[in-house]
Symmetry: C2
Subunit: 366 residues, 2 copies
């Protein structure tokens, strides 16, 4: 069980109101409710709001309730400035934050409107799923994920503390950045990959059927995010145009350079150029932290099992008897070899004891 | 349990000799051995050959043994023509195939050398893993994966039958293609994604540390294959130069068109152009068959579990009691919501009964 499930106290003092009850808003609600925070919800779609409430992400606000301590705006990017303005006007005493994936454009828009932004600070949790909607919400969506807070010199300590309390309650890792640095960073790690993945997948449209039949894991992985909602991405890319254009121009030059090297592959040094460009990719991948979002949070134990159905059930029963809670489970098996591995995620503090206990009961661990 | 594990008879008549005991060669050996085939192995590295033999992928050939019925060449691409020539000369009565990922260049090289290719037919199993080597070999590496056979008009029925028997023994799905069509197809579904992924990952090399800290699943997925061995890919791309250059040129034009549309995002129709290009990506992804290699082979049952450790163990125990073999297991859980889903892969023919039996025992299925 994670901290949330243990009913740990919240760092958030006061009520939290969530505007926009989609994937992010409902996940914020679910996670804070698990900490005992009083969460209210609204959405332009009453159906979405009701669904999120049924799911346990919060309740509707009643007429005449006092202002919430914090408003979290979790609407689509193209209406985030409007929603933040609305929140500032409706709840003048509340701290307001938003979780939109671009930070500079909405800030400029709010400044242009001449609003008092003393109680506003933009933020961005780096979490999401392929499919959106309240139904996909998870209390642990933000666990071990970065949560960027874009404070400026005017942001008061109280405002900052409240937004950071929410991020920490939800298990996220806090990062402070300027809106400019944030937008350049997400351009590189999120928006460029999105465009590249979409354009790569678009090459499949005119392809012959027999060619697509050869598709493997490499193609599936590189194009997975291309299945995302085009309308949402038009908004995001439009809001972060300058950094994305700069990145796309640089990427296009790289593609041209690579193609030239391949075209000249028989010329002296060309094979070396190709290898160097590919090796840069290997070096780039090596910079990406942790393979799994949960990597920082859980330790992994690998147990050998020789007959999957029966042995795995016994293993899980014995883990229960030993009082070891399993946070996640992944199977790796080779039917031909009659041997499988169960990779079990546990809290780091129990990992050593778990291995010793399992070994003493005759389990083989790696 | 899969067919292999049930000890089903092999379709292969006679001994199989594998040249190159890396990931593919050792996996061929493991899979055929599980069917009872007599497999011999060799590798330029005695350590690799010994490791594969220890792993159960086959045995060393003894002096004076009769020719094998089939030789499978599973060497790196740049020595495949040499290895095939060597096999044809050493075992004139054997059928010879190779599993290299490019088919036209080695064929042209063999023809240029004036060899008798009556007993040779090139093939290509679409299977692999990020990390190579015998240690990563799996008997089920080829299960439900396409295996392309590049026959020509001269290929005898006996030659074809023997290579196809190996592919079917290993659980692969047979496809026939000309070498030209094969090379264009793998250019699209494998080589282009590799280059694009590498160049995308290369953009991370000069990035600031704080930007990379924001990396999420999207970046990890799109760049995963960029971690592959650059030397191997120089060989593959060099051998399939023309189709890859054509694809890279087209892709580069797409990147330029997208960047132009984004640059002109305020002009009439530009948002529509951007959305259309992104939607093409969505359409392209939709053409890719089955999300998982096992999709075609297994049916999926989703069972609701409210307390993971204890309930999951009970579920697996009851599956065993019901005589339902679990082929794979994936957990999806939301600790905050105290509810989880176990997605269980079973053979399609038992799926309906499994759901009914589980429901009658009080399990909730989706």
């Amino acid at each position: 069980m994670t901290e949330q499930a243990n009913g740990l106290a919240s760092r958030v003092t006061g009520q939290v109101h969530v505007i926009g009850a989609g994937l992010l808003g409902a996940s914020v609600g679910l996670g804070l409710r698990a900490r005992g925070v009083d969460v209210t919800l609204e959405d332009v779609s009453p159906t979405t709001a009701a669904l999120a409430a049924d799911y346990g992400a919060g309740r509707a606000r009643s007429a005449g309730e006092p202002d919430p301590a914090l408003v979290v705006v979790a609407t689509p990017p193209d209406v985030v400035a409007d929603a933040v303005e609305g929140a500032i006007r409706r709840f003048p005493n509340a701290v307001v934050t938003d979780v939109a994936s671009v930070k500079l454009a909405p800030l400029h828009e709010l400044q242009r409107r001449g609003l008092n932004l003393d109680n506003y600070v933009g933020s961005h949790p780096m979490a999401g799923r392929e499919r959106g909607g309240a139904i996909m919400a998870r209390a642990d969506l933000f666990v071990a994920r970065p949560w960027v807070v874009c404070r400026d010199a005017d942001t008061s300590a109280e405002t900052l503390a409240l937004v950071e309390a929410v991020a920490l309650d939800l298990g996220a890792v806090l990062l402070e950045m300027t809106p400019e640095a944030h937008d350049r960073a997400v351009g590189l790690v999120s928006h460029l990959p999105q465009v590249v993945s979409s354009l790569l997948a678009a090459r499949l449209v005119p392809a012959e059927e027999h060619a697509i039949e050869l598709a493997g894991a490499g193609l599936r992985d590189t194009t997975r995010i291309a299945a995302s909602d085009p309308e949402l991405w038009v908004q995001i890319l439009g809001a972060n145009r300058e950094p994305v254009i700069e990145l796309l121009d640089a990427f296009q030059r790289d593609v041209a350079a690579f193609t030239d090297a391949l075209r000249a592959a028989d010329a002296p040094g060309s094979k070396r150029s190709i290898a160097d460009l590919l090796a840069s990719g290997t070096n780039g991948v090596a910079r990406i932290p942790g393979k799994h979002g949960s990597a920082a949070r859980f330790a992994s134990i690998t147990v050998l099992i020789d007959d999957r159905a029966g042995q795995l059930a016994s293993l899980l029963t014995e883990l229960g008897e030993l009082g070891i809670n399993m946070e996640d489970l992944r199977l790796e098996h080779s039917p031909g070899a009659q041997i499988g591995f169960a990779e079990i995620a546990v809290l780091p503090e129990v990992a050593e004891r778990a291995v010793a206990d399992l070994q003493s009961r005759g389990w083989r661990t790696l």
